[in-house]
């Protein structure tokens, strides 16, 4: 199964194994989970949320530049 993940104007489809969690996604992309809020199909979820496949994940950057 796969999920679509978008962040900072990037978008990527990632294959994940059954039982994978949002945390596992971060092994595939160069993003520190400490710097984002995670939306899965438009609802905020934690890193431990289990994936079902065919989901859209959006990472909202929270680090400020100032």
């Amino acid at each position: 199964m796969s999920v679509e993940i978008s962040w900072n104007n990037s978008k990527k489809s990632i294959d994940v194994e059954e039982g994978a969690t949002v945390q596992d996604i971060f092994e595939e992309i160069d993003v520190n989970p400490e710097t984002v809020i995670i939306e899965l199909d438009e609802r905020v979820v934690s890193l431990e949320e289990e994936l079902n496949g065919d989901e859209d994940i959006r990472l909202i950057n929270v680090v400020s530049g100032g």
Binding site: V44, S46, S64, G66
Partner: protein, 305 residues
């Protein structure tokens, strides 16, 4: 399957590795607000009859602070809350966040004042930067100068800023790396009060709260998240420190809290050593505002534009 809130079993919106617990939106919000109130109470940030001005950029941190304080002050009959937005004059960036600031203040019934670089200094930041480098230096120094002057003109007893745990810790590490010990006195939820009637004391209610959790609070409370990046943002020491601390927190949860607590233990000794001498302030011989030298940094920069 959803991860569950440790208190009620609802779907979790955050798992805090540093405490090993997951929280749903409702209990996260309750706990977040309780933590900020503890900071306010323990640090004595406000008096019952304070006139408090919120430095409101329209970004997620200051919007969250505006919302939080307006709700808290509903029960403080003699306290007054206003907001101040600085318009640096950054096209396609600040104009968006000013609209957000206006909307929030309209909704909350808070009086908003807007002060601009153009009006105060004769030029927008865009105009200043036409032949300059290091936009963050000009912006930061002039913005702080204007926040102090305007909040004082508004009659504010305190200027509340949305600096969070990450901002604070970055400043601590940057000061260490630069060896600038007297700047350390500007840190803390209630920085050292300067003995000068031109200085509006600053308070930081979010100082013990991680940046990611302030953003999550803003998101849960349906605040509009202004995510446009400032065009003058530059690679800086702060960015290096920020990335280092976030990586440390990822690998070793609670690093940030531990480092902040360690600094808090040092701060009284730093105040004792530096407050009476090197951290003393006087009035700038040009503009009359506070400075540690003869001429303030804002006047030094204004001479170059």
């Amino acid at each position: 399957m959803s991860s569950k809130c440790w208190k009620c079993g609802d779907t979790a919106v955050i798992h805090r590795k540093y405490e090993g617990k997951s929280w749903c939106a409702r209990h996260f919000t309750e706990q977040f607000e309780s933590l900020v109130k503890s900071t306010i109470r323990e640090e004595g940030l406000f008096e019952n009859d304070d006139s408090v001005c919120v430095a409101l950029s329209g970004g997620m941190d200051s919007s969250a602070l505006m919302l939080f304080l307006s709700e808290m002050f509903e029960n403080w009959r003699n306290a007054e809350l206003t907001a101040l937005t600085i318009d640096e004059g950054i096209k396609n960036y600040r104009d968006e966040s000013i609209e957000i600031a206006k909307e929030i203040c309209d909704e909350l019934g808070v009086e908003l004042h807007i002060a601009s670089f153009k009006e105060a200094f004769g030029k927008t930041l865009d105009e200043i930067m036409e032949d300059k480098e290091y936009g963050c230096t000009y912006c930061g120094v002039l913005r702080r100068w204007l926040l102090n002057v305007k909040s004082r003109e508004m009659g504010a007893d305190k200027l509340a800023t949305a600096h969070n745990l990450d901002d604070e810790l970055q400043s601590i590490f940057m000061n260490y790396l630069k060896g600038d010990m007297k700047r350390m006195l500007r840190l803390g939820a209630k920085p050292a009060v300067l003995e000068n009637d031109k200085f509006v004391p600053r308070v930081k209610p979010f100082r013990n709260t991680p940046e990611r959790e302030v953003a999550l609070y803003a998101k849960i409370r349906d605040l509009e998240l202004h995510q446009t990046e400032c065009p003058y943002v530059e690679d800086s020491l702060r960015f290096d420190v920020r990335d280092f601390l976030n990586e440390m927190e990822r690998k070793r949860p609670s690093t940030k809290f531990t480092a902040l607590r360690a600094f808090d233990k040092l701060l009284p000794a730093l105040k004792e050593k530096f407050t009476d001498s090197e951290a003393s302030v006087q009035n700038c011989e040009r503009c009359g505002e506070i400075t540690s030298g003869e001429v303030c940094k804002a006047c030094e920069l204004l001479e170059k534009i």
